[in-house]
């Protein structure tokens, strides 16, 4: 049975992660040969993943001094009921 656009979208992440069987992979790639829309879908899906990674991977933020002090002060406090 050949794959359609809906099947392809379902299997997409497994395809990109290399988790499809040889037979599934062959069906997946056979669909891509005849469906430029699905090629566009895959490319925009991959671009989405790259964008979220790039946009969120900012260098870590500065640690406010008052938060450092609060954490160190809280460490010294005796535990309630201890």
């Amino acid at each position: 049975m050949s794959m359609d656009c809906k099947d392809l979208a379902e299997f997409l992440m497994s395809y990109l992660d290399g988790e499809l069987t040889d037979a599934q992979r062959a069906e997946f790639e056979a669909h891509l040969v005849i469906c430029p829309s699905c090629i566009d879908y895959i490319e925009s899906y991959e671009r989405t993943v790259r964008l979220e990674k790039e946009c969120e991977s900012e260098p870590s933020c500065a640690m406010p001094d008052e938060l450092v002090r609060a954490i160190l002060a809280a460490r010294k406090k005796p535990e309630p009921n201890s």
Partner: protein, 195 residues
């Protein structure tokens, strides 16, 4: 790592300078991850404090099977997730609204269009960054959390599933749905016809 070994010895011995060095070194990364998950500065700071206090309590039992930073990163994620669970959820849209739809013959209802080249080799523009972040915020929380843990914090599927209390299969499905939904939200902004 020798310096990490010394730091760990200092922490286990209760040396104040070691605790301060630990907080200064690890704090920024923890604040970044708790902010990503909580999207609220005050809650993020509380989660970082909870994470450090929890780590201080159990540092005696830390055996170094993982790096100190990795261990603390997991504790901070857990602290942020606990805070999320106690927070009242904002009304959110169903993930189904963001997923592609198909005709009876299995073809797309809305045929995917190519996206324009970004022309953003190198640094991403501030407006793109803002657009992507606000789009991630539109995702239903259960899906947004998986996306952040897997794609951004780079936890593996098993760790993600364990932290969220779901099966590995469910974590995989949610990640794929979250990426598909994010693609749908970004699509009108990146289509060649919109560029």
């Amino acid at each position: 790592m020798e310096s990490e070994g010394k730091l760990l010895d200092g922490l286990k011995a209760g040396e104040p300078a070691a605790f301060e060095a630990f907080v200064q070194a690890q704090g920024p990364r923890l604040l970044a991850v708790t902010r990503r998950l909580l999207r609220n500065d005050e809650d993020a700071r509380d989660a970082v404090q909870d994470a450090f206090l929890s780590a201080f309590k159990s540092i005696g039992g830390f055996e170094g099977a993982s790096r100190l930073g990795t261990w603390l990163h997991r504790i901070a994620i857990n602290a942020a997730l606990m805070k999320l669970r106690t927070r009242r959820r904002k009304p959110e849209r169903s993930i189904e609204e963001f997923l592609p739809t198909y005709l009876d013959d299995g073809h797309h209802v809305d045929r995917p269009q190519p996206w324009a080249e970004s022309g953003e080799a190198g640094a991403i523009r501030a407006e793109t960054r803002q657009l992507v972040r606000s789009s991630i915020d539109e995702l239903p929380e259960d899906y947004r959390n998986v996306l952040i843990l897997r794609d951004i914090e780079e936890l593996d599927t098993a760790e993600t599933a364990e932290l969220l209390g779901i099966s590995i299969g469910a974590a995989k499905v949610r990640l794929h749905r979250a990426r598909q939904a994010l693609r749908t939200i970004l699509d009108p902004h990146f289509r060649e016809s919109a560029a």
